[in-house]
Amino acid sequence: MSDVGTKELRIVGFLCNWCSYGGADTAGVGRFKQPTDLRIIRVPCSGRVDPLFVVRALLTGADGVLVSGCHPRDCHYSEGNYYARRRLEMLRRLLQFMGIDEKRFHYTWVSASEGQKWQQVVTDFTKQVHELGPLHDKKEKAD
Amino acid sequence: MAEKKYAYYSGCSQETSSKEYDISLRAVMKALDVELVEPEGWSCCGSTPAHTVNHVLAAALAARNLALVEKMNMPVLTTPCPSCLTAFKEANHRMENDSFKKDVNSLLDNPYNGTVDAKSSLQIIYEDIGLETIASKVKYVFTELKVAPYYGCIMNRPPALAKFDDPENPIAMDKILSALGLNVCDFAFKTECCGAGYGYTKKDMMKELTYKVLDMARDAGANCIAVACPVCQMNLDLNQKEINKDRGSDFNMPVIYFTQLMGLAFGCSPKELAIKKLIVNPDKLLKNRMLKSETDKGQDKEKLKASA
Amino acid sequence: MADTGFLPKEKLKDFLEALSKDAVVYAPALEGDIVLFKEYSQGKDLYLDRPANLGPKSIIYPQCETLLSFDFKKNDPEDPKKVDIELKTESNFANTVVFGCRPCDAKGLVIYDKVFIDTDTADPYYKERRDKTTIISFACEAPFAGCFCTAVGGGPADTTGSDVLMTDVGDGFFFEALTEKGKAVLKSVPMQDGASYKEKAQKIKSEAEKKIRNPFPKDATEKLSQKLFDSDEFWEKVVSKCISCGACTYLCPTCYCFNITDEKTKDKGERIRTWDACMFNHFTLETSGHNPRPSKLKRFRNRVGHKFLYYPEKYNGVIACCGCGRCIRYCPASVDISEIVGYLKDPKQK
């Protein structure tokens, strides 16, 4: 059972090392409780997140994907999140078109100091995905 | 065909106590080739005590009128009264919230979709018509007048809602009056409270505040005050005698709508502008007028002198 | 009489339903605007008006098949270094009937048989499916765009590779069993006696044969011009327009090239065999980075060479082309292999 009340769903998060991963750390240090569904993959920059990672995850078992980077103007690499913003916005619209609810995909900006915001993002997004339920008819885990 | 066309909401004051504002505004707009269209069946704007009691009801009163304008397919509603203006702007703002909008529309026969922008007539004249056009229409310059432009407390406030001019030091009326060729005083109390809010409940306080505004205008070297709000006008105009009695002062300062001043400059007759309705009689100040062409000559001469 | 039979047209569905009691039946069906072989189920519409876009090859030689699957098992929790790999092969291919393919499609399977079965090391996956499948072909009355079966030794009513041949004789279908498997099929369902239709069918078939175009002499002994075959200039001329895709090979009933890859997840995986195409750059790309067939000219030459030179050399003059015309029909650039072979057989033509 997920903290959200139903069976845990699979949510994949791509977090940039400098801001959002740090924000998730800050949330942890502050002991800000969050639903447990999210699995985090660390990337150097949200600009590293090829939209196809999101597609791959959603096609192979994820029920939701979250991408989070530094706020615009705050990118550690100056410009990475600007590219991310364009690509991920394009993807969001494309997913909805091909029949994957855009609510299963969220991209946002969380800085290393925004532990509370991170808690909010994870809580809200997890809730949102749970409202939609599983994306795939998954086989039960063998064990 | 008029060059510009606006939906026009005069408001209750302009129907009654400050008819001269409405009359002069219509005269000026006519001179400026602007058509004002009144929405059929307009009603109270809601700037009554309603908004201190119930936001939804207050907004519904305003939205009913805005919906009428929406039905006329007109994007902008203009009103001379800052109080009405605030009511409309606030309704628009609150109705950006969907659930609030739903509540309001549930009270209305015809729902309002939030597509009508409300602007003060001052803003329309300043921004849409522009100083150049105004100056080009000027026939007479009243040389005697030294005007303190008085905007009142809500014409530009709150700034996030009003989105027009500076909330502390507005200049639109200053510029318009200057374009009329008038002598405009640097007036520090442009947005000071005139006290009208306490007109009935705390008369002494009202008189104190009114006195300050009049006093400051006199200090600034003004011999009349230009206003854009019917309540300010009434308050400043009506109470001078009583203040003189209390304080031993001798105010006799005409409080004139800026639209009346515009009309006079454009060559409208005092009757067309209902000048007579003012309490403090401005006739003495209006005696001396010059044809604008002559003042221009004078200026040219001065310019010549300066360059030589 | 079990060797021939006749069915009125309206009985065809009953026939298929009877067949599908004992076997999985694949029959052509319309899918949007294209024709594909689909598993037949009750009440489903058939579509026999033209050959399927993709023939039945994928039923017997699937585009992707799992050769084996493997599990990494750590049975001793104390010794993580000890890993047992469990291999599994699964076979659950049921008895199958392919209904309504064209004679050229059936002929294609014979080309495969030589490679996958008639060798010292038969391919058990292919063999099992081939053995369990009965082919009921449907003779063509007239050619379709690009067809040239007669030029490569086939024909609109060629029986090679089929177990049963079916001919449209107007008011119904005439069936001929060609093999034991075919006889068994015809036996399994009630059918009218077909003897009276034999002659009519024969006439239809031979008329059809005359309508087929002959882009090059049918005589298989006519050699390709080696000189022209070796000339880069020739290939550049004829295949510059090729876009190097795999449409021709994947649709081809005689192309059988494949790739084998291992796909592994955390603790299990599969070895899969998938179609590959000699038109792809990767096909001959070596680990070193060297590619012996680096350009589409070389790759296309190989394709023609394989079908008309190398395969015949190895298999007794049999041409590895059934003339179905799909590679021509569906080529994005309308490259015409029959025209190219025609040039090679008769260089003067050029």
């Binding site: 913003r85 | - | 008006d49 765009a145």
Partner: protein
């Protein structure tokens, strides 16, 4: 526009180039095939009619020698996009433009004549007359044109060195271009998902769509076939097929010139271009960008604005 005028131009440019890419008759009367002309004799065989469907500009990046290419209005967008992305040396290319009122979808024509072998094809006014063994059939070109022609905005090439004919203006309203996308979006989420699953399930991964795509610059390096990176397996599952088409769509984001080749060449009749067209409609909406129209433009995925006027932060 007469074929004669075109031949004149071909003969004129031929001495300056290695090859002129045009069209000639194909294996039957309905199939026109690309034609790499090297000699004046070749030029004699060149044809131009409504069956000249292929986007010949797609051959350009793979050719090293100076080449002339015949392009329709739609095809010219390919060249403009190549220029934007620096994929061709413009000085190495001679563009022969043809104003075009619309071509014919061979698939639609064949369907209209029940896939009978075509014996002859004739043109008359805006019509195409098809002769099969079952007789003659006259079709209005407008009824059998590819969807792209129905909303064509660029009947005259955007760039050209020679123009074989008089320029013509588009008569199609600009807002019609993405109407089909809007229409499709009226379907429910589930309907759309099922639609794409069913369509992509037909895919045999022959890569004709990719190889015909003028903007698929990777070609032999396409990640659909590599192990490093290993984005996708060779399995035949719906997910892998969908993944491949998503790769194609995402890589074409802001670059697809809507030539429709991917869809035309698909032997399985899959509406491959739909995803790309959707992205294009969004590029227009988000960045007011249309691919292959202005050589000075920057493809939107390779640039950014610090403030994006149309991208709002999304609330959860």
């Amino acid at each position: 526009m007469s074929t004669e005028k075109l031949k004149e131009i071909i003969l004129k440019v031929l001495p300056d180039v290695d090859t002129v890419i045009g069209w000639q008759e194909g294996f039957d009367k309905i199939h026109i095939t690309p034609f790499f002309m090297k000699s004046p004799e070749d030029a004699e065989k060149a044809v131009w009619n409504s069956l000249c469907v292929q986007n010949l500009a797609a051959y350009l990046p793979s050719l090293k020698k100076k080449t002339a290419v015949i392009v329709k209005g739609c095809d010219s967008r390919t060249i403009v996009q190549y220029m934007q992305e620096g994929l061709i040396d413009r000085s190495n290319v001679v563009i022969i433009g043809i104003p075009c009122t619309g071509v014919v979808s061979v698939k639609k024509v064949l369907k209209a004549v029940d896939y009978q072998p075509i014996e002859d094809v004739k043109f008359s006014d805006e019509k195409i007359i098809i002769k099969t063994s079952k007789g003659e059939k006259t079709l209005a070109i407008a009824d059998v044109c590819p969807d792209k022609c129905k909303t064509c905005q660029y009947p005259t090439p955007i760039v050209y060195d020679h123009l074989a004919g008089d320029p013509i203006e588009s008569t199609k309203p600009a807002e019609s271009v993405y109407e089909d996308i809007k229409e499709f979006e009226k379907k429910s989420l589930e309907e759309r998902r099922d639609y794409f699953k069913n369509e992509f399930d037909k895919c045999i991964r022959c890569y004709a769509c990719r190889n015909a795509c003028p903007m698929c610059v990777c070609q032999d390096s396409c990640i659909a076939e590599t192990r490093d990176p290993h984005w996708i397996t060779q399995k035949l599952s719906s997910e892998e097929k969908m993944m491949f088409h998503m790769i194609h769509a995402v890589h074409l984001a802001g670059r697809c010139v809507e030539c429709g080749e991917c869809e035309r060449v698909c032997p399985m009749d899959i509406p491959v271009a739909k995803l790309k067209k959707k992205i294009n409609s969004e590029m227009k909406e988000l960045f007011d960008y249309v691919p292959g129209v202005n050589p000075e433009d920057k493809p939107p995925m390779y640039t950014f604005n610090v403030e994006e006027a149309k991208i709002k932060e999304h609330k959860l």
